[in-house]
């Protein structure tokens, strides 16, 4: 394996370091794990220091880092200042990456379930035994139920493409990612309006509205950083959120919008922009389809009407619409990321997209810009075709316009439980944790109980791994070689990234690429994995001659793509070749061609709508057990407004029960004015079933236990803000 770029310390720096008495003093208790894992160099010799590039994997953002390695131990992860997307930063999670690497709770060798599912009884296997077992089970299911009888699900990871490749050559169309529990609705809406999912040029914007996005806590690079810089340069930030998030706290304006009514707000904004002729007429005439219909359509949605729905004063809606128009085209209705919230999330985001179109901000500074062309080659392969396979995915046709390569976790799960349209009896998961993130955990367990075989590859014993039959240990991002990958950075430009091991893999952990290659060989599919990662990467980079050297020298290869005026006179990738304010395709597929407002479910008197969301210290279910991060955020609580709390006799810190029609959880109450009276909030990642997550087991409650599983009717994306709950003092 090619060694990571090494930069041995100069003699001079080495000597300087010797003068520092403080350097290298480690605490006995803290470094126990490290001592157990690496051979210690004897005596008082100065440590051998190396600095190695990598890319963070504590969330999906992939920020650039330089690991400081002393005597083979990763001591510190420093930001890579040359990395444009992260602009030379790491967040709390990024800094805590060493504790993922040296986590005593990590999976260490293959484990086979012995007791009942979820009982936590395991038998250690050798890799050969584990791989033979996996291959045997996959073959048996394929033979008995067709190859589509195995469902594959891979999270956001540089090696996930190999899970997709494996699924395809094995012969299953049933492939899911984390996306149908996350951002599909935004993608659908912006793709269907503009023909491509754009990136917001926050850095150069003069006016940003964030609705249902919390960029100062749910960090996205470079947007979170750029928002601060833009604000220092005079950009105005308006936040619509039922919670007083940190984004709301730092915004110029915060409007505690009634949850689920964002479309009313933006239709009214469109109404004002259209009726007061504030839109970019040239742009709209040249580039949009359906303006006449839109003009008619939004007439029914004046701000005075919207005020009744979203509880934001009409005068503010009118003012904000005018301010947006003045700032345009350097003005953005922020597209957002996680949009798995309502049954009409795609249509809600369509209303965001349409207002952006009226502002004429497409392809212009401070507006919505196009992803850059990266130019990586994708080594092709000729997957076999299995004639006995069913024609389609198991969730096919269950949403109006599902992405055929993404599918829907919720709808697939329903199909597995029902055994229709055909039985699915195997599940392969890699680095995704639907037991924590997929609403209605009871149903996920029901689904798992339908399976003959479940295989999970992960770094730690997640709740999903806890339910599996076979658990295989993967190395952390600091221990493995990865393929190259294109990374979009909006106004920071696109770049190419990759990873090489910063330190060798610990324990018996093996990358998923190796695991799949080994299983493929056992299933006579070896020819599709007949290469090393190094060879694969070389092929990927064949048309980028300067990339390999830049990756070696700087840890990143910047594309320096043109940011503005990229669309030029080229047609939009839509049916009409224009921005579709009105979508014939939606009409044809049974969806509203323009977003039609439908009020959200009413919240009964004695109940609350529950909303979920991240903060800057957790990445859903994957980082809460981190021994550093759990010192900042040791458990979740339920946010409840003081007025209803008083009625219910709930005080700060009381143990309460949050219950929905599908489940309940016990956790502490956080009584705060920072949420609406009709809305309660919980962070994800707690209430774990896995006793192997020792830092957080027994703490807080799990959102997936409480949330009902509604879905976005257009994409099948999970709708996680549609659940009404009761909150009561817990009976001891």
């Amino acid at each position: 394996m090619q060694a990571n770029n090494q930069r041995p310390m100069s003699r001079r720096r080495f000597l300087k370091l010797s003068g520092a008495a403080a350097a290298g003093t480690a605490l006995a208790g803290q470094s126990q794990v490290l001592h157990a894992l690496v051979k210690k160099r004897g005596g008082l010799q100065e440590p051998q220091v190396q600095r190695r590039f990598s890319v963070c994997d504590m969330c999906f953002n992939k920020c650039g880092l330089i690991a400081r390695v002393e005597d083979g131990v990763v001591k510190m992860l420093n930001p890579n200042p040359k990395f444009p997307k992260s602009r030379g930063m790491l967040c709390a999670r990024g800094n805590a990456g060493t504790k993922q690497l040296y986590d005593p709770d990590r999976l260490k060798y293959p484990l086979l379930r012995k007791g009942a599912r979820g009982e936590g009884k395991w038998q250690r296997l050798s890799w050969d035994e584990a791989l033979d077992h996996a291959a045997e089970k996959l073959k048996a299911i394929g033979d008995q139920y067709t190859r589509c009888g195995v469902l594959f699900m891979a999270g956001s990871d540089l090696q996930s493409q190999f899970v997709h490749r494996f699924a395809e050559v094995y012969g299953s169309y049933n492939v899911l990612s984390h996306e149908s529990n996350c951002l599909l609705s935004r993608n659908r809406a912006f793709l269907d309006t503009f023909g491509i999912v754009p990136f917001p040029d926050v850095l150069n914007s003069k006016y940003v509205i964030m609705a249902g996005a919390n960029r100062f806590e749910a960090l996205v690079t470079p947007d979170s950083i750029d928002m601060v810089t833009a604000m220092k340069d005079g950009c105005k930030l308006v936040v619509l959120d039922p919670r007083f998030t940190k984004t709301a706290a730092l915004a110029h304006e915060w409007h505690p919008i009634k949850p689920g009514t964002d479309m009313a707000f933006f239709l009214a904004v469109a109404n004002v922009i259209v009726s007061e002729n504030l839109y970019d007429k040239n742009f709209v005439a040249r580039n949009t389809y359906g303006m006449e219909q839109l003009v008619q359509h939004v007439r029914q949605y004046p701000p005075e009407w919207a005020e009744q729905e979203c509880e934001i004063p009409a005068k503010d809606i009118r003012r904000i619409a005018r301010e947006l128009a003045v700032a345009a085209p350097a003005a953005i209705v922020y597209p957002g990321r996680r949009t798995s919230d309502y049954e009409n999330s795609s249509q809600i985001r369509r209303s965001f997209a349409i207002v952006n179109a009226l502002l004429g901000n497409w392809d212009r500074p401070g507006g919505l810009i196009l992803p850059g062309k990266v130019g990586l080659s994708s080594p092709g392969y000729d997957a076999p075709f299995y004639e006995d396979n069913p024609e389609e995915r198991v969730d096919f046709g269950k949403a109006l316009m599902m992405f055929p390569e993404e599918g829907s976790f919720k709808l697939s799960r329903d199909a597995v439980i029902a055994g229709k349209p055909y039985p699915v009896k195997g599940w392969f998961t890699y680095k995704t944790n639907p037991m924590q993130t997929g609403a209605n955990r009871g149903k996920t367990i029901e689904m798992i109980n339908e399976l003959d075989f479940m295989l999970t590859v992960d770094i730690q014993m997640s709740d999903t791994a806890w339910m599996a039959d076979l658990v295989l240990p993967a190395p952390s991002y600091l221990e493995r070689q990865d393929p190259a990958s294109g990374l979009q950075g909006g106004s920071a430009g696109a770049c190419v990234i990759t990873r090489d091991p910063v330190v060798p893999a610990l324990f018996e952990s093996k990358p998923v690429f190796w695991i799949l290659k080994e299983i493929a060989a056992r299933l006579d599919l070896g020819e599709y994995f007949d290469f090393t990662l190094g060879e694969f990467r070389k092929k990927q980079l064949q048309k980028l001659p300067a990339a390999a050297e830049a990756l070696r020298k700087d840890g990143v290869y910047s594309i320096n793509n043109k940011l503005y005026g990229v669309q030029g006179k080229k047609p939009f990738r839509t049916r009409s070749k224009k921005i579709e304010l009105y979508s014939e395709r939606y009409k044809k597929n049974g969806a509203d061609p323009m977003p039609v407002y439908r009020p959200p479910r009413t919240v009964p008197e004695d109940r609350f709508r529950i909303v979920v969301g991240r903060n800057a210290y957790i990445t859903q279910g994957s980082s809460t057990n981190n021994s550093l991060l759990c010192q900042i955020f040791p458990e979740n609580s339920v946010w409840i407004h003081p007025e209803p709390a008083e009625t219910l006799g709930i005080r700060e810190g009381d143990e309460v029960e949050v219950a929905s029609p599908v489940g309940k959880g016990r956790l502490k109450a956080h009584v705060t004015e920072e949420t609406r009276k009709d809305t309660v909030y919980m962070a994800s990642g707690f209430g774990v079933l896995s006793k192997a997550l020792k830092n957080i087991y027994g703490k807080g409650a799990c959102i997936a236990d409480i949330l009902e599983d509604y879905d976005d009717e257009i994409t099948g994306n999970m709708a996680m803000h549609e659940t009404m709950v009761t909150v009561s003092l817990a009976q001891s």
């Binding site: 003068g19 470094s31 420093n78 602009r87 030379g88 805590a96 021994s627």
Partner: protein, 211 residues
């Protein structure tokens, strides 16, 4: 190693850039191997829903020019040392804890394993390597700026020249801290009145702000 004369290290913080991501806190813990549940730096904030914009305010040991911790140390283990830093000599420290309660910023702690006082030293070992303190290097928005106030070309001197800077001091005592904040970003009046042990002799003028 200092050819240009004496250094005076300081930090200038633009609190309007901080969104409380706590990257600085974790970076510090990793870089300095700070024991569990202890911190060498922090992010304070103003009251939340008040109609006013919330301010998040990062901080740490202020490396004061008139440090009450130094006065409170009975054995001279903590002292105003090189380049403006308040230092601790681990071999002299007896772990009495006087300095911990003497700090108006609550910046010190007793290390439960080493049984001595500890605190931020602006990542002295990183400075020796020519690197910035970990909290400064990792900050997403570069709200923390670090440098030598005696060097007129440093960023901190530049900011001191250009911006109206303020220091956060407790009402009863001004220890002349070396972390500066941009004016208009509402630093909080949170420092506590230090409590000093009765058997420690305090020089006249220590309580210069006390009424």
């Amino acid at each position: 190693m200092n050819q240009t004369g004496k250094k005076k290290y300081a930090m200038v913080i633009d609190t309007s850039k901080c969104y409380d991501c706590k990257a600085c806190m974790i970076a510090c813990k990793v870089e300095n191997n700070v024991p569990n549940d202890f911190w060498r730096n922090w992010v304070k904030h103003t009251g939340r829903i008040s109609g006013m914009r919330t301010q998040f305010q990062p901080g740490g040991c202020m490396q004061c020019d008139a440090p009450s911790c130094v006065e409170a140390c009975p054995v001279g283990a903590t002292y105003k040392g090189k380049d403006g830093l308040v230092e601790i000599n681990p071999s002299r420290c007896i772990g009495c804890g006087n300095c911990v309660t003497a700090c108006p910023y609550d910046a010190r702690y007793l290390d439960p394993l080493k049984h001595i006082a500890d605190k931020c030293d602006f990542c002295w070992h990183r400075l020796l390597r020519g690197e910035e303190p970990a909290c400064v290097a990792t900050c997403p928005t570069k709200a923390r700026v670090f440098g030598d106030l005696n060097d007129p070309r440093s960023r901190v001197s530049e900011l001191a020249e250009r911006e109206k800077l303020v220091r956060v001091v407790c009402p009863s005592i001004n220890t002349e801290p070396n972390i500066y904040y941009f004016a208009g970003t509402e630093p909080l009046n949170w420092p506590v009145v230090p409590t000093l042990p009765g058997n420690v002799h305090m020089p006249p003028g220590f309580w210069k702000y006390s009424g």
